[in-house]
Amino acid sequence: MNITINNENSMTAKTKSKKNLLEVKHLKTYYPVKGGFFRRTIGHVKAVDNVSFEIRKGETFGLVGESGCGKSTTGRTILRLLSPTEGQIIFDGNDITNLSGNKLREARKDFQMVFQDPYASLNPMQMVGDIIGEPIKNFYPGKQKKEIKEEVMDLIFRVGLPSDAYYKYAHEFSGGQRQRIGIARALALKPKLIVADEPVSALDVSVQSQVLNLLKELQDEFDLTYLFIAHDLSVVKHMSDRIGVMYLGNLIEVADKHSIYDEPLHPYTQALISAIPEPDPDRKKERIVLQGDVPSPSNPPSGCPFHTRCPMAKEACSEIKPKLKEVKPDHRVACILYD
């Protein structure tokens, strides 16, 4: 017993000592809603509404939450594919929140994305060789064609595509292979951070683990840090070191994987965990079924975003919006119960 605790402590210490690759501070990303005769902005979809977390070098940070809670928007904003409404994004010590033009373009070398949709994320008019080689051409315009082709062939080989893939088009491949093409493209610039936005959710279950394993292998080989987005807790568990749980644009709990699974603090996280099918019947826990629907992000409830469905909601929950606080070492939660 003692030993386990010691072990855990030392592990926490180890991960804590690692430097942060990414720091996200009070990030908000709103989509304007246009309407009326003059197409003026008449409101906002608060897709990301106050999200703060950090990702340490070499780790995989899992971001989970129901569909529509703002995971993709968070990932895209971090990579500056969208502009944040408020907040700060610090990547490898540099503030990239307000970069634009060529400076932003130059910064993109270090962070890439693997997309959710294996069909929509590859240009149907490009050959696979061109898709994978294009990032290299963009950033190293002086590079010889032959050299680029060699690099692309290495990548094709590394992600497990057939060697004749170079001259083929995306429509000739299956979903899993297309995802490999997308991974090779993201890898081409040897980035430090890869945001993987539900990279396997569109794939057959039989193919999912192959792609996940590939991502894990590549992480060791290329010293990658991942932001791994998923709506499926079991996939996140398999992949992540630390996990953040999102609800309606808010990050409500952040902790290392084991704390999230073994002692979830936030009632929403508890409900999510209870919904995972438990293979061992002896350990069967009671399933917490949430009432009601997720409110609209264009008109979120006052106070705690979860109070409309929370089984433990008190009166104060509709008035005060709880802040994310550290309640245990390396375990933060945004809930009035832990104040």
Binding site: R105, A120, P124, M125, M127, P135, E172
Partner: protein, 303 residues
């Protein structure tokens, strides 16, 4: 065994062949479309005959031959002569030159300008989009005929007559293409491969030219064929009304306009029926080609 594989491949013609670009697949489908291919051949013959007219015939088209006025078709004048004694067949060829030139040049200018405006508005959105689209609306709502008459008068003498018409039509004609391209770009840019292109360091110009335009090009090409037919009709209509190509220049529209004379209409059908037929067939074949291209580029149809 071999026969079996053979049979198998015959049974599944819908499977795209390996290693073919989307364009190559479309080309294959188009070539198998008989109506579209016949139309292409016809249009090609009309184009070649028209543009090679000066090399095919040695007759001076503008010379008035008082000795050979209003002759019906004969072995010497295949389609007869008109009231001024000019050979109708020769004028038909030269007329095709002008009508097709007006059609092609207008289509080209309109498509290029409309695509530039539409893709910039669609890609950048926001203020850029608003400004460009208000300007497009302004152009679209301009009284076309009034402008044609006024500009024709202003430019007359500065440019040769045919080019005045081309400039006028093109300046006023790009609005529809701009709107179409904009709406196509708006929906196409939602695809994740556009985010990917930005992420891997493509500049906006490259995102538009290399990623967006190839994927909306099919729509633009189909629209161009419709425009081509429309522009030929527009030339004929304007010339018929007397606001198009100067009357001394032969064009299909000008040849048709001679039928405004009741005497010609009734007694000299050989002067206006041939241009009417060629015009109709040309426009039909352009439309069939357009349909063929549309079909060939539709990934859900297989031939």
């Amino acid at each position: 065994m071999e026969a079996l594989t053979e049979k198998n491949t015959n049974q599944t013609p819908s499977k795209p062949p390996k290693n073919m670009s989307p364009w190559a697949i479309a080309r294959r489908k188009f070539v198998r479309n008989k109506l579209a291919m016949t139309s292409s051949v016809f249009l090609l013959i009309v184009m070649i005959a028209s543009f090679l007219a000066p090399y095919i015939t040695t007759v001076d088209i503008s010379r008035v031959n008082l000795g050979q006025m209003s002759l019906p078709p004969s072995s010497e004048h295949w389609l007869g002569t008109d009231k001024s004694g000019r050979d109708v067949f020769v004028r038909l060829l030269y007329g095709g030159r002008v009508s097709l030139l007006v059609g092609l040049a207008c289509t080209f200018l309109i498509v290029v300008f409309g695509t530039i405006v539409g893709s910039i508005a669609g890609y950048f959105g926001g203020v850029v989009d608003s400004v460009l689209m208000r300007f497009t609306d302004f152009i679209l709502n301009f009284p076309f005929l009034v402008f044609v008459i006024v500009l024709n008068a202003i430019l007359f003498g500065h440019l040769s007559g045919v080019w005045v018409l081309i400039v006028v039509i093109s300046v006023l004609g790009w609005g529809g293409v701009a709107r179409l391209v904009r709406s196509k770009i708006l929906s196409e840019k939602e695809n994740e491969y556009i985010l990917a292109a930005i992420s891997i360091g493509c500049r906006p110009s490259k995102v538009i030219i290399k990623h967006l335009l190839p994927n909306v090009l099919s729509t633009i090409i189909v629209q161009a064929t419709i425009l081509f037919a429309t522009m030929i009709v527009a030339e004929s209509g304007l010339s018929y009304l007397g606001f198009g190509v100067p009357t001394e220049v032969p064009s299909w529209g000008n040849m048709l306009s001679t039928s405004r004379d009741p005497d010609v209409m009734q007694n000299m059908p050989w002067t206006w029926i041939p241009p009417a037929i060629v015009l109709t067939l040309t426009i039909l074949s352009i439309n069939f080609i357009g349909e063929g291209i549309k079909d060939a580029l539709n990934p859900k149809s297989y031939r």
